[in-house]
Symmetry: C2
Amino acid sequence: MLKDFESKKRQDSAQVSEETKELQMQLLGQQQLLMQAKIPVIVMIEGWAAAGKGSLIKELISELDPRFYHVVSPKVLHEYEERQPFLCQYMQAIPVNGKVTFYDSGWMENVVRKYLRHEITKEDYRNRIREVNEVERQLRDSGYMIIKIFLHIEKRKQYERLYRLTEDSRTEWRVDREDLMQHKEYKRFMEAYDDFIEKTGGTIGWHILDGSHNKIAVRDALKLLVQKIDIAVKEGRYEGQPIEEEFPLKEMPKLSEVDLSQTMDDEEYKKELKKLQTKLSELHNVIYRKKIPVILCYEGWDAAGKGGNIRRVTYALDPRGFDVHPIASPLPHELNRQYLWRFWTKLPRTGHVCIFDRTWYGRVMVERLEGFCTENEWKRAYNEINEFERMLTEWGAVVLKFWIHIDKDVQLERFNHREQTPEKQWKITEEDWRNREKWDEYEIAVDELLQKTSTKNAPWYIIESNDKKYARIKTLRIIVKALEKACEKHFKQMME
Amino acid sequence: MLKDFESKKRQDSAQVSEETKELQMQLLGQQQLLMQAKIPVIVMIEGWAAAGKGSLIKELISELDPRFYHVVSPKVLHEYEERQPFLCQYMQAIPVNGKVTFYDSGWMENVVRKYLRHEITKEDYRNRIREVNEVERQLRDSGYMIIKIFLHIEKRKQYERLYRLTEDSRTEWRVDREDLMQHKEYKRFMEAYDDFIEKTGGTIGWHILDGSHNKIAVRDALKLLVQKIDIAVKEGRYEGQPIEEEFPLKEMPKLSEVDLSQTMDDEEYKKELKKLQTKLSELHNVIYRKKIPVILCYEGWDAAGKGGNIRRVTYALDPRGFDVHPIASPLPHELNRQYLWRFWTKLPRTGHVCIFDRTWYGRVMVERLEGFCTENEWKRAYNEINEFERMLTEWGAVVLKFWIHIDKDVQLERFNHREQTPEKQWKITEEDWRNREKWDEYEIAVDELLQKTSTKNAPWYIIESNDKKYARIKTLRIIVKALEKACEKHFKQMME
């Protein structure tokens, strides 16, 4: 660990420079190999203020083709300013296959700093460490190579560097209050960094480099990268095995057991619709003010009535406070990243409602059945999705998932009706008919996902939609109830 | 104008509702027609606080398929918080072909509010109005339909509504200080809105609707949309003609007149490189603090040495403060929007350096020569680009454009060298050879763009690069000089 860490190496500076130059050229040569092997690489440079993270990155990239890498410097906002899950800005920056993202401070700095600032509780801290481990494993399992470097300097060295920076009017602005605070509280930070390193080294190991001799740190980091990439290219993309973690689950019926005979007459429908929309509209104000994010997920059979159902919900919402994301097949730049990436980029801000018209469950339905992903991939997805959704609810989001359900006869009726109605013909395609032929296979897949992913925190609701009116009212009721509960709970949590 | 505007229509409420419902269904029916005609639609809803913009949008979208539209509610930040050109957030939200973006307040509110807050000068105000007109014309010319609605209410009505909102604890939070301020200064705002409407109605006309009767406003807005879309679908996508506006230009030689014999020996190169990089590094600190954005554009022949040149620049920069954007052929979602959109989404934040490795000039080079756009389109582009770059420099950016120049023999040498060097083979493709065959055509296109777009505010520099060392030093010198000048000018402007 850090405390035991000592680097006393002295080397002839000229020799280090020469080795560095050579390693930079080797890294340059590896660009193409990484591209061919389609391995995306994440390089996290964490460490003390003034440890030389910026200059290290500068040397790492100095010979590389700009098309090949990206450098991000995520800000650690104050928790109350953060409008999305803390991992969001990091996940949004992950590279496409064959390219590299360098993080000038990563999620470690975020978690540790907020914890030391007392902006998150001990429990939040533990959860976030778990989330970091989960995300790192997920990325690794889907082929990402992650290199985590901690650039270490001793307190005395940090003092010297901060002093030098502050004395020079050109660099003074680079030292902020938080850096000085870190120096004053060096010991507290040391313990916190140590704790984080200890708890997050299990899946992807840490590399602690001595930042007190810049040139040596650069050479060592380059050596590390070159070696790691060399091995990765030889071994090829890693593919993780499915794992099964226990999540508290809600019991779900099989689709075939669902009674689809419910109906609702027009009069009751209109009355209820108005009542629920008014209520939802009021609740939208409350969640906006309380900054509770809401994520509504719609899945269901083709022609089950997802669109109309969604519209009855959005009609009650202020257009400034919601987004609907229709999810189609992934685009090339989406396919070239971990499959959840395109959802990480669409998460709502606090206080906003975000509706997914089809979701990440495509992985365990269409992608599974059409062979768009490997068996390992879709089997891994149940657990990955449960983790993703737990992260969302730990962030504070209300996550509700609706399976809009009809039977095969009703689908056929609606397909035929669509084909016969000119304004509706665009809604029905060859693909819908092809999917219909695979009804039984889909049913197996859906039953499986309902069993495996209806967690207590992000439950599934089967919405009987042979009668669309009944379905809409049921959905609205579930949403209203969940939001009421969330508003209450929010108050209780604030007071704890 | 607003002062003369009066709407006294009274209609039977039931009839209005019925008409509204019918119009909503018509709009729904138009979705597919717009998709087929590939016409993107921008609906700007501007108007007074509490005029009912939100509820109007809610009714406009109530029957639409969420896949078909997007609602954005851009915030009017304070000018000092705004890290990108004020038009950026609006331009980033423009729809793809066949879809609609509704703006819950558009660029009008932005310009007027900042002007009334005294955050921008009279000159800025005039410039921004000009920029709004330019952008609207550019969008129209490239096929966008723009509908601009101003929702008007009288002072007394605004008072009633603000009062009602503030009295109700559930809606109180919706009224902010700025709304109350607007009410107090109703007359000043009236004049400012009027002035803006008068000065921006030339290209795309305004539609002033009476917001005092919500239902009628909704019906009228729907009627307007349905009519406009109907006409647009019948007439098909509009394509604008090229126009030529006079810009103050820097005189440029023809490529064939450029003396490419300059060289630099190794010793001088190393000395100069070090000196200039140190200087640039210091200047990077200054522009960061002064929040001056810098945009460096690289174009040039294949194998001219763009990559190496860029690396010598970035090596002097702090990786936290710059981005390199390599520009390849546009992706489908980029092709489906106005061609400058993909650059609007890549502009730097204030104080940052952004380097484009190839640029928007692709329009008047490869897209022109390969027939990827129509003649009207590339001929229009000279003026559109000049306007775009003027907007960038009026925002405060330093814009420098480099044509990295070599002759045909040197290119052949370098191509051959690349083919014979295993690590460099990836840099040379069939396409490079094909482009080489079109050298003469390219030369005509480049000569033309250099003549037409080397504006005083965003000049072109021809960088003789037969000797790469000479080229790098020349580029660095130009950048250093321009940044020094910008830092000085910045101070002077602050003091004016």
